[in-house]
C-alpha cells in the first residue's frame, strides 16, 4: 500500500513538473537565427535591460495582457517573481521616465500575429497554442 502511495505521489509530482514545463512556449520570428535562449537573457530582454537578442538582432519583446494565467507562469518561471512585482518594476521605470514596458497583446493569436510580422520580436504563448509558419519556438535554458 505504501509503495502504491509513493508511486502515485511520484507520478503526480512528475505530472506537475511536466505541466509547469509546458504551461508556455517562447516564440520568436521565424527569420531569427537563434534556436535557444538562456533564462537570464530572456528575463533581461523582457525587462528591457537588454535590447538585443543573443544573435545580435534588436529585440522586440511582447507580453500577454495583465491577468493572463500564462503571463503569471512566464513571470514566475523566467523572472523568478510574480507578475505584480514586475508590474511594480514597470511603474517605477515609467514614472522615473526611464522606459516603458513591452507591447501587450490580449491573446495568443495576437502575440503570434505580432511576432510573425515583426523582425526581432519575441513573445510567449500558452503551451498548446497553434503557431503557424511565421514563428518558431525557442528552447529556454538555465
Amino acid at each position: 500500500m505504501k509503495r502504491i502511495i509513493l508511486t502515485v505521489a511520484a507520478l503526480g509530482l512528475f505530472a506537475a513538473q511536466r505541466l509547469e514545463a509546458q504551461e508556455f512556449q517562447v516564440v520568436v520570428n521565424a527569420g531569427a537565427s537563434l534556436t535557444e535562449i538562456s533564462r537570464g537573457d530572456l528575463s533581461k530582454i523582457f525587462q528591457k535591460k537588454k535590447n538585443k537578442l543573443p544573435s545580435g538582432e534588436s529585440a522586440n519583446p511582447v507580453d500577454l495582457g495583465t491577468g493572463a494565467a500564462v503571463r503569471e507562469s512566464f513571470s514566475q518561471a523566467v523572472h523568478g517573481r510574480s507578475a505584480n512585482q514586475i508590474a511594480a518594476y514597470w511603474q517605477q521605470q515609467i514614472f522615473s521616465g526611464r522606459g516603458v514596458p513591452p507591447e501587450e497583446k490580449a491573446s495568443d493569436d495576437e502575440v503570434i500575429a505580432y511576432v510573425s510580422s515583426t523582425p526581432g520580436a519575441i513573445g510567449y504563448v500558452s503551451a498548446g497554442a497553434s503557431l503557424g509558419s511565421g514563428v518558431k519556438t525557442l528552447e529556454v535554458s538555465d
Partner: protein
C-alpha cells in the same frame, strides 16, 4: 489661465513636430501615454502641516500625464505635465494649475543613456517618483527628506548600468545643470490675523554637478545607494527659514549681513545614502542626507518598514527626523526641525488603484504656523485618506 493655454498649446505643437508622416497605427505605437493621480482628504490638529489644516479638506491632490514618443530605436522624447493642490499651503497659490514636470529627450548608445532638458534628478529612492501614489506607502515621500524643489535638473544626465557578475549590478548616473530650491516659510504671526503667514521663495542652485550610484545585489529587491552633488546656491531669494535662522543675532547686524548675502552665490553640497529593500511580502527602507550651505547645515533621515499581510492589504510605519545647525558670529544654533512618526494602511482596490489611510504625529518647528526655531518645539498631528491610481 494663459499659462495653462501655453502649456497645452506647446504640448500639441511638440507632438505635431514629433509625429512623422506614418500610418496612424505606426504613430500610435510610437506614442505612449501614462499618468497618475492621488486624491486625498486631510485634517490636522490645531497646527497645520504641509497645507493640511484643522478644517478637513479635499483640496489635496497630485496628478500627472506623461507623453512619451519613441523617435527611433535609441531616441525617445518625454513630456510630463503635472498638477498639484495643497489646500492651505501657500504653494497651492504659487503653483500653476498645470505645469511642466519634465521635458527631455533621451538617447541610448549601447549601455549608456543620455538625457537633456528638464530631467528628473536621480537622488535617493523616491526623488523621481515622489508623487506617484501607487509606488508610495504614504500620500507622499518622506517630506523632511524630499523637500519641495530639488526634483528636476535643468541640464543633462548620463547613466550606465554595469554588470559586476554573479547578479551584482551597478547603476550609475551623473548630472550637470541647475535646479530650484523651493522654501515655504511661516513668517511672524503679526503678518496674518490667523497667526501665520507664509512665504514661498524659489532659489536657484547653479552649476550643480553630481551623481547617484545604486548597487543592485543578487537578492532581488535589495540595493544600496549613494549620491551627492556640489552647486553654487544663489543668495537672492534665500530668505525665510534660512534668513530667520541666519539672523538670530542682533537685528541690525542681521539686516546688514542679509543685504550682503543677497548678492552672488555661496557654495553648497548635498549628500545622501540609501538602503532600499523592496521584497514580495515586506519593505525596509532608510535614507540619510546632509544639505550644507556656508553657515547652515540641514540633516534629514527616515526609516520605513512595511508588511503585506494579505494579498491586498499592507501596513507601514515610518519615522522621520530632521535638524538644522546654523553657525555665525553668535556661535552655533542647533534645533530639531521635524520629528514625524507615521503609520498607514494600504488596500489595493485593483491592480492600478490603492486606498491609503495614514496618521502622523509631528514634533518640532516645521508647521504651517510659525514656530520660533530658537524656542521650544511644538507638537501636532494630521491624518490623510487618499486614493492613488496609475496607468
Amino acid at each position: 489661465m494663459h499659462s495653462v493655454f501655453r502649456v497645452v498649446a506647446s504640448t500639441f505643437l511638440v507632438a505635431a513636430i514629433c509625429l512623422q508622416p506614418e500610418s496612424a497605427d505606426a504613430q500610435s505605437e510610437r506614442l505612449q501615454v501614462h499618468g497618475f493621480l492621488s486624491q486625498g482628504m486631510g485634517q490636522s490638529g490645531d497646527l497645520g502641516v504641509a497645507g493640511v489644516g484643522p478644517e478637513a479638506t479635499w483640496d489635496y491632490r497630485t496628478a500627472a500625464l506623461q507623453f512619451g514618443y519613441q523617435i527611433s530605436d535609441t531616441e525617445r522624447f518625454v513630456l510630463q505635465l503635472g498638477h498639484r493642490r495643497l489646500a492651505h499651503s501657500p504653494l497651492s497659490d504659487a503653483l500653476d494649475d498645470v505645469f511642466v514636470d519634465w521635458g527631455f529627450v533621451q538617447s541610448r548608445y549601447g549601455s549608456v543613456t543620455f538625457r537633456a532638458g528638464k530631467v528628473p534628478m536621480p537622488r535617493g529612492i523616491f526623488n523621481e517618483t515622489r508623487d506617484v501614489g501607487t509606488l508610495l506607502p504614504f500620500y507622499r515621500a518622506p517630506l523632511s527628506f524630499y523637500t519641495e524643489g530639488i526634483e528636476t535638473i535643468d541640464g543633462i544626465t548620463s547613466g550606465r548600468m554595469i554588470s559586476l557578475g554573479d547578479s551584482w549590478q551597478l547603476d550609475a548616473t551623473a548630472f550637470l545643470g541647475s535646479w530650484s530650491f523651493v522654501q515655504v516659510q511661516a513668517e511672524q504671526a503679526e503678518h496674518d490675523e490667523h497667526g501665520a503667514s507664509s512665504l514661498v521663495t524659489d532659489t536657484r542652485a547653479q552649476r550643480a554637478l553630481g551623481g547617484q550610484v545604486w548597487l543592485e545585489t543578487p537578492i532581488y529587491g535589495l540595493r544600496f545607494g549613494f549620491g551627492g552633488q556640489r552647486f553654487a546656491m544663489e543668495n537672492e531669494g534665500l530668505t525665510g527659514f534660512f534668513g530667520a535662522v541666519h539672523g538670530h543675532g542682533e537685528e541690525e547686524g542681521a539686516e546688514e549681513e542679509e543685504e550682503e548675502a543677497e548678492e552672488g552665490t555661496q557654495p553648497g553640497s548635498l549628500w545622501q545614502a540609501s538602503l532600499d529593500g523592496n521584497f514580495d511580502r515586506f519593505t525596509v527602507r532608510g535614507e540619510y542626507q546632509v544639505f550644507a550651505l556656508e553657515e547652515i547645515t540641514y540633516y534629514a533621515g527616515y526609516g520605513q518598514v512595511g508588511f503585506r499581510f494579505a494579498d491586498r492589504l499592507s501596513a507601514h510605519v515610518q519615522a522621520e527626523l530632521s535638524r538644522v545647525r546654523a553657525a555665525d558670529e553668535d556661535g552655533d544654533l542647533e534645533f530639531k526641525h521635524t520629528r514625524d512618526l507615521a503609520a498607514a494602511l494600504n488596500f489595493k482596490l485593483s491592480p492600478a488603484m490603492l486606498l491609503k489611510i495614514e496618521g502622523h504625529l509631528q514634533n518640532g518647528h516645521a508647521f504651517d504656523t510659525y514656530i520660533d526655531p530658537t524656542g521650544p518645539s511644538a507638537s501636532g498631528k494630521y491624518f490623510i485618506t487618499s486614493i492613488a491610481v496609475a496607468f
